[in-house]
Amino acid sequence: MIEIRWHGRGGQGAKTAALLLADVAFTAGMYVQGFPEYGPERMGAPITAYNRLDDHVIRVHSNIYEPDIVVVVDETLIKAVDVTAGLKPGGKLLINSKRRAEDILKEFPEINAEIYVIDAADISIRYIGKNIPNSPLLSAVARLTGLIPEAEFMKSVEEAISHKFASKPAVIQGNVDSIKESWNAVIRINE
């Protein structure tokens, strides 16, 4: 089982991204969970969302405390929330950032994890016209899980995006294009 924890702020789409990842993995034939942790829903407040992906039925219904992958949708949270809490040794940390690698690495001096970066804001602005980083991050996370080959992911994600945005067809193509670029735009910044 792969467990993923998303850190974002209310309104940035971390929950939507987690639900879309569940959709995509489902379409690829897996057992999935995608769920947010709910508190008072406020725009801009820190929120957490989760995914479990497995080849077997998933019965557990708790939050995720020892994730394989952590996604930081909003890097201003790094100072506010312990985003790497419980991250498995050798796990993966994905950060949405346009900063230089050495600046990001300074924030995680002791970490035993692979750190990846994607400039999801830039990609989403270019393809969707707005800073909604969840589609690029979805693509990057899907790649980091290693569970779904690129071609199969692209096929599943088109279905999932079309399903999710059935009432807003104008945004489907931009999201799909941003996802295609993002698969290869995620880079590892530590050794």
């Binding site: 569940a22 769920f35 998933i58 557990v60």
Partner: protein, 408 residues
Amino acid sequence: MSDYKYPKIDKKSKAPAFRERMSGNEAVSYAIRQIDPDVIAAFPITPSTEIPQYISKYKADGKISTEFVTVESEHSAMSACIGASASGVRAMTATSSAGMALMYELLYVAASDRLPVVMAAVNRALTGPININADHSDSMGARDSGWIQIYSENAQEAYDNMLMAHRIGEHPDVKLPVMICQDGFITSHAIENILLESDEFAKEFVGEYTPEKFLLNTKESLGVGPYGISPYYMEAKRGQEQAMENAREVIAQISKLYSDATGRLYDFFEAYRMDDAEYAILIMGSASGTAKDAVDNLRAEGKKVGLIKLRVFRPFPFDKIAQALSKVKGLAIMDRSEGFSASGGPLGAEVRSALYGRVDGIKTINYIYGLGGRDMRVRDFEDIYAEIMAIKADEIPELYKYYGVRER
């Protein structure tokens, strides 16, 4: 018992279930669309709000013929359901927490008028302090209102239980309202895999509602909900009690028919790895699956542990529970609500009562857990098994205790 015709499902011609992914709220709404009840009256409240939202969409898209009544409160929602059901049609609602509390007076009216209203209950803590997350304090507060109560572990069970609800409540030997419960957010808002049945199967299984007596029958006049003077009131209550007793047989029959047709097994409870279990947890709702993972982990270490997941809380299957627990040495009864009896929670009281005089000597602790959405992890259940396994033979364990709470 009347010679009621149970649905006959031809398994050979039945369409296979199909794979989907959806939240518990969407799953229940999907079942409601397939049932296509005559009347739905509902008022939105977190976390069940999505259910009337889905129903509104089904209605706008022409996918249901239901009369959807957008009332101004839950008190009115249940009142409208009572009126509709008394007139002779199928009526449903959805609610949570304070919404259910506002229905409280009418819950008793629906039950005592013997109206098989069906409610999608999405469990949420009752206010004080205000909280939107899961616990069972709302439906447990209504446990003595005369409704049949069925609890679900996940979206699949919420869906399946909803497809069984009308057959149970509308049975002529029962005629009682039915509450299908699932845990707020934990299952209501989590996307999970699910197997859905075809519309044809769902409609065939649920069947048509043809009440024997109803208010809009011009050939036979009827009064519903009159004043019950002392010479009659007690007989009315005895009738409700008999109906609840009869519900046992009907729930068994309907659950077996559904299980046979779908291959997904339903009974009053699920006994998980209980055959040779010496230590057991008894629990309801979404944390059951988490606890099953703990059972598997401990079984892998050779520990003889098992789990009872209670599905039907009303009527309470006291004899079957006593039988299922007859060989265990230690038991943890898990309550996701407080009763403030200062003696434990409502499930603890029922289970102890079921055991008393039938099965004695089980070292039992009643745990209060998960209030207001407090999370339970696999390792928490491993801790609980360790605690009950550590009770010594000559020790009288604590009657009840809180799990996962900060003490000063």
